[in-house]
Symmetry: C2
Subunit: 539 residues, 2 copies
């Protein structure tokens, strides 16, 4: 393609405009939504061009309105009353490739299960008696205990009683009843059980005022995340609730148009609490439970005629990155054993926790190399699918995690925020089809989409999947919120872009040969029907 010489400008406007079109096209030529093989995703007929235009103008329309603009914070921008959001909700989204199971369920549901499924078992504790002045700072922790346990059980009448001994367990139904504090302006003027419930859900969810005002640095927002997880863990790690969460996640996926999921599960605790209250529900049983619930779920879909809509689930084994090489070795061995038994379920290995505060990947390289050798010798396929580059650092240890993730053969990169700084690494990912799992809303590094490096990554031709990461914490289930944000913040990314992203989320999933082909074929049919429905206005 001829680009006008810069040093001797042509003086003809027509030629100028031709050269301009060519340069814009060349600048976008690496984008996957501009590739030839994307044709099946691109609306083709004249009628479909209409849909394409409708959608590609959506960003402008929305930003012109008073209530939404592309530079707004992610959380305040979750305006699900917008027409385009309603349509996006019905988009076939392909695979969900980056989400942490323990942060995927709505806080209210989790608490409700604690009250029903956990009745008689669930207890709550805090670090100090709750007072008017520490009310918003104290973090509730939960645990299911064998009924009748007396060890470390509180005898105080309430978490607010001055006689409450720090960190002793109060039965949940006891703690809820007298939950109120005189002389203090309560959350939404609630008292008793309603106040307790509002307090617990507020501890799990991060609201916009927290994210943009109080928690306006990277470390502060991470501290807030860790507090949310302290509340979630004890609720989640009780077999009946764990099972309920899994089923709910499947339904949430289905209802959001997600047809496949690779869920990151934190295998750090060796045991959850079993249904009978004993703390001996182990890793093998977790995977078995997931397999069982998936079978149940499929049975439930059959009478609805929706069984084709959900291809399945795989698990990415994770543990915390703040660990010694010996500890990582232990979890690698555990992952290896699970893989031998659950070859279809276990898709990969990863480390979680704030990258900037955890250990860099380089610290574990020896155990990783040994692990790869062992996997190879056993003729298993068990790749790394690492978080890497979730940092603002330029050339520091966390930024260099990208280097190690790539050298260790990571199949995809979780977040990869800092990769936009690295032209060679972007090229590597493009050429070797290493996908970036981008999670706009959960991004702790930037507060709005226009500051996010996603456009640079898309323009570099690196495959991208959009993901919700921790939707329970942001009250944003499914991938619709994230896709919505990407769409309204760009004049380049439109219908073809989000279609490409959805297609790629299956293409670069760990689904294997035949199943992947089937999933892609079925997605294409749903995509075509989605486009038709937009065009004929039936959506």
């Amino acid at each position: 393609m001829h680009i006008m010489s810069l040093s001797s400008p042509e003086l003809d406007l027509k030629k100028y405009l031709e050269a301009r079109e060519a340069l814009i096209a060349q600048d976008r030529s690496l984008r996957r939504d501009h590739q030839e093989d994307i044709r099946p995703i691109r609306p083709e007929s004249g009628k479909q061009t209409e849909a394409k235009e409708l959608w590609e103008n959506a960003g402008n329309e929305i930003s012109a309105s008073q209530s939404l603009f592309p530079g707004m914070g992610f959380l305040t921008g979750n305006n699900s009353s917008v027409e385009i959001f309603r349509i996006l909700k019905k988009m076939p989204k392909g695979g969900l490739l980056h989400a942490h199971l323990d942060a995927m369920v709505d806080a209210e549901k989790l608490l409700n299960w604690a009250l029903t499924l956990g009745a008689g078992y669930m207890h709550v504790r805090v670090d100090e008696p709750i007072t008017a002045s520490n009310f918003y700072l104290v973090v509730p922790e939960f645990k299911a205990l064998v009924p009748g346990t007396t060890d470390n059980i509180s005898l105080a009448p309430s978490l607010m009683s001055p006689s409450y001994l720090p960190k002793t367990w109060v039965p949940l139904h006891v703690a809820r009843r007298p939950f109120s504090l005189k002389a203090f302006l309560m959350l939404k003027n609630l008292r008793g059980p309603e106040l307790f419930d509002a307090w617990v859900t507020a501890s799990i969810r991060i609201d916009p005022s927290e994210a943009y005002e109080n928690m306006n640095t990277v470390d502060k927002i991470w501290d807030r995340f860790r507090a949310a997880f302290r509340t979630i863990f004890g609720l989640f790690r009780f077999e009946p609730i764990f099972r309920a969460v899994i089923k709910q996640v499947f339904w949430d996926c289905l209802n959001d148009g997600i047809s496949y999921a690779e869920l990151r599960i934190n295998f750090h605790p060796l045991f959850m609490v079993r249904a009978d209250g004993r703390e001996d529900f182990g890793h093998r049983e977790w995977v078995l439970a997931i397999r069982e619930i998936l079978d149940e779920f499929r049975e439930e879909l059959k009478p609805l005629g929706r069984q084709e809509e959900f291809v399945g689930v795989k698990l990415i084994y994770t543990t915390f990155r703040l660990a010694s090489p010996e500890e990582i070795q232990f979890y690698l061995d555990d992952c290896f054993e699970l893989k031998k038994e659950f070859q279809d379920e276990i898709a990969g290995f990863d480390l979680v926790g704030q990258e900037d505060l955890g250990e860099p990947l380089i610290k574990f390289v020896e155990v990783f190399l040994k692990f790869q050798k062992r996997v190879q010798e056993a003729q298993l396929y068990l790749p790394f699918i690492f978080h890497a580059g979730e940092t603002l650092s330029d050339g520091g240890e966390t930024d260099l995690n990208l280097i190690d993730a790539l050298l260790l053969g990571t199949k995809r990169i979780g977040h990869g925020f800092s990769i936009a700084k690295h032209p060679h690494l972007l090229q590597m990912c493009r050429e070797k089809n290493i996908m970036l799992e981008v999670c706009p809303i959960s991004c702790r590094l930037t507060s709005s989409m226009p500051m996010h490096p996603l456009p640079a990554v898309l323009n570099s031709g690196v495959p991208v999947a959009l993901n919700c990461d921790d939707p329970g914490i942001f009250d944003s289930m499914g991938n619709t919120y994230d896709i919505f944000q990407v769409l309204i913040a760009s004049d380049v990314s439109g219908l073809t872009t989000i279609g490409t992203i959805a297609y790629d989320s299956l293409q670069f999933s760990e689904l294997q040969s035949e199943k992947k082909v089937q999933a892609l074929e079925f997605w294409k049919k749903r995509w075509a029907a989605f486009i038709d429905a937009i065009v004929d206005g039936s959506i």
Copy 2:
């Protein structure tokens, strides 16, 4: 260079570490501070390696301290008491390529000149009488008037008098005297002239609390900028003050180690107020004044033996981008006429004002092409040096200004913030040596260096100059503040980087052949002396 295959990982740690070094090097191989021809800038001897290490670790040392961290806002980070800042102040910085003359002088100096040089001439006005409730919102505007003028002159005793007619002029010495408001908590408990002066300087300077709390969107910070310029304009556009500003800018450059400057001057007003109060001091005379003051300045340097330290000054002709093609045509013609007379002084043409709100370059392409033809036919050399891509937009009109700037043969790009999204445009700039004029502190698009796309641009091998842009508004004269910010926010950018940037600021300036060679040679000598002084601790 052999990079380990990703699919079949080597199992040997030593080989892994070699491959890691190679990949990091390859990822940085495009950087200009990693190029072979940078060798004269790089500290070479063993002794100098020490200096290099000292500096390249500076970022870590500083971020480890409690008071400064790389993610802090630019303005709160201006901690000039830090040792490394003091040393950087003495660094030979090469050329200052992006700064607007009317925003280059300290607010207090400007006001002081209004009181001395403007005595009897300078007047002030506001849009409405100042009250306790509008005190922080009302913007003072100034103008020098012929003594004895009665037209539009206020008869009220004060700007705070209820009898003050909006927009009528009050003599400066009259306005200052009774400047206080009862029943209102005053700025720093000042009253009278001190309060007036504090009010005016606060209107010009943007302080951190404004920038990060009240003005926390791109449009708001731009509104604040425009208000500052409303106050500056009438002070600046009075011949005696204009002359004083120029001389001061030369001294500020010299004292900051800047040896050459290309100053953007806004030629939008056809006339300034002449020393005698008449408003007929025209564009030709501005350039003549600058030429005269440069000669004076050189004479003043001779007895100090510092005449070699300042190579000279060129002007970039600018006007506002919020204009019709006919208006732009007028200013292009005016620029052309000035260039014919002042071939050495006039270096290029540019448009100023918030890009997102102004007209895009494409709107003026016809007049630009005609202009280029005319310049060529007259055998003149008068390139565009455009602001472009100072936006968060992805593929919108302002983002596409980069396309037009490049097609119109811009010699450099002012800001170019959004270019980090465009792999092909980065490649074009690298291959054609089109420099980016980066202005970290004045950046209205991000509040801190770790969010700035500079590292991506450096890693792409595009030449970069660091600039202060509007130092009067940020109270950050010279380039030291910007260089300091870049240094502490990166683990990659060190002494060699900032040396390369300084070298390139002369290399890609509009200095012509022989003068450029001399400037570069002299800079290299100063750089070597600077390194020596760091090493022997004499700095």
